[in-house]
Symmetry: C2
Subunit: 358 residues, 2 copies
């Protein structure tokens, strides 16, 4: 029952445009350090799951880049999705591959593009989740909230569980969707709610059993595909079966329906780095509230985010709460509180046929 | 008594950074059209003073670029200042050269970097000023103000003058410095005040006589230099004498002291295009108040100025009253009402030793 990790790298990461593009989504970018997010994620796991026991699930167009970023991983551990199908098929795909290598595999699945400030603490919590998984629980890491965030889903904790010695493990009372501000404030005040970071630890066999129960159609497709692993017909079968799998999240497809779920309340400093506006929280700011990456000259600017790593000097005068993201061929200027609206830019670029910038 | 024009191109034009640089100041940039300001100025004059009768006074580092921009001008008509000495020495220098070609020269001196919306109307006013100059007046074109502008000097008109037939010519009552807003509003309401556009028409001989009277030191230097024109010793003499000439404006040094001054009230649509913030007035705006040059995608932006002619796409979301000026190696983001503060950026660049960007 050894631990494996599955890094989910299927995201298209449009919210980091113009840094992120179709061919280089967020996980393949150096957003929070000078290493790519996926490389950071893999290195963070190494003390618990060495590279030889790490897996990545990613899209066709990103497979080469992932292999280049993580050359230590066995080639067979880079699993390619012909199309994105959300997290349930992604995790199912990983499970059928894993079980051929290790029928007793315990798996940690996690996003490829989140930030963790304390890697050692992260691993301690993950080891605890591994113990809970080995005791029979599909286990998740729930992040102790530091603010009434409306951008994350939450996990309500239930009764405390006895799972050997160490930090607390609780039953999951329920998963809840992104709340409004008032609800988020209630969650924060109650102390019973944790952020859902999309990090799950479980026995692969148990996960497939849960899929059989809650997502039988998916399960059937996975079994049909599983027979072809290691055969010349695998790619064709994958291309045939995968697009037809239900596009559903593991949260909705399995977690919200399962009973025996555990959660490890965690405090390792976590962010999904949902947009440039999340960077100050992760990377810190100077005495004027500004965060600068690259070369910038800010005069009388407050609470700005500047990324000018493309080499050009960015000069800002008298700006407040503004983000300036400069790349070789495109520049974005957007208020911090409009960060999500970068998608409208992408829609318009698409309309205008500027595929070169997407 | 034929007309010549002298285009004063000594400006360093820092207010258009990052478009303008030491080697390419405003007059050498395509700011208001796809032609450089100096080329526009020269072409505007052609119907009154053909290229063969045009002169330019410019700095050493710009001489080659000016020759390239205005290949039609006789090489001897590009007069190079070893250092900038404001407009009085500049005009004096032009006069001593001009008088060697045409002892009865009437001269129109004007800045190289102003915008005129109606060139034909401009030439009609200039012809009228020529007539007044030939009648013995140092004459200026005064722009009928359209708003209480505090960025320009003003000319108070006096009694009407009889100078042949045609549009009105007045005596100049006085020149006044840039006023505060209340004073500018009074000026506008009175109808007696015109903007000082720095455009003067006069007999070269008469101008030198005025300098002899009001700026005797300058006059002496000019006469000493004049003896060397056309000799091998000219450049050395220029380098010796010019830097010691008083750095003074023609307005302060001559105009404010002269009695026989005339002004032609003018309506040809003029702007000194003092900064990027002046561009909307000159070039117009779209239905959202935005002015875009180059490729930009603006979503929910109002009253913005974007120059992205360096080729990069500029995407703006939810911006108001902001200017984004993108060049190959530097980008400026600054509120419209802070346009003048671009100079602080230049000071800081200098401090940081970024001579490459100045």
């Amino acid at each position: 029952m050894s631990l494996h990790s599955v890094i989910m790298a299927g995201g298209s990461g449009t919210r980091f445009w113009p840094l992120s593009r179709r061919v280089t989504p967020k996980q393949l970018l150096a957003i929070t350090s000078d290493r790519t997010m996926i490389r950071e994620t893999a290195e963070r796991l190494v003390s618990l799951t060495p590279f030889a026991t790490q897996w990545v699930v990613c899209g066709t167009v990103h497979a080469d880049a992932v292999r280049k970023e993580l050359p230590e991983l066995p080639r067979s551990h880079i699993l390619v999705e012909p199309v994105g199908r959300n997290t349930a098929p992604c995790i199912g795909l990983a499970c059928i591959h894993l079980l051929r290598e290790d029928p007793d595999a315990v798996v940690c699945v996690l996003p490829s593009d989140a930030h963790v400030s304390d890697a050692a603490d992260f691993c301690r919590h993950l080891a605890r989740a591994e113990a809970a998984a080995k005791a029979g629980f599909i286990t998740t890491l729930g992040i102790r909230p530091s603010r009434p965030e409306t951008g994350y889903g939450y996990i309500q904790t239930g009764k405390s569980l006895e799972v050997g010695a160490g930090m607390a493990v609780h039953r999951v009372e329920r998963f809840v969707e992104k709340p409004d501000l008032a609800t988020a404030q209630k969650y924060l005040a109650s102390g019973d709610y944790l952020w859902n970071a999309g990090i799950f630890v479980f026995s692969a066999r148990q996960m497939l059993a849960a899929m059989q129960k809650h997502m039988p159609e998916l399960y059937t497709s996975l079994m049909a595909l599983g027979e072809n692993i290691g055969t010349p017909g695998y790619d064709a079968r994958l291309a045939e079966l995968y697009p037809r799998m239900p596009s559903q999240s593991i949260d909705y497809g399995v977690m919200e329906k399962e009973k025996d779920l555990a959660v490890v309340p965690s405090t390792f400093g976590w962010s999904d780095v949902g947009s440039f506006a999340a960077l100050p929280e992760v990377l810190g700011v100077d005495e004027h509230g500004n965060l600068v990456r690259g070369t910038a000259l800010l005069d009388g600017c407050r609470d700005c985010v500047v990324d000018s790593r493309a080499g050009r000097l960015v000069a800002g005068v008298g700006l407040g709460g503004l983000m300036v993201i400069d790349t070789k061929d495109a520049l974005l200027v957007i208020p911090k509180d409009r960060a999500q609206d970068v998608k409208t830019v992408l829609e318009q670029l698409k309309k205008k046929g500027r595929e070169d910038l997407l």
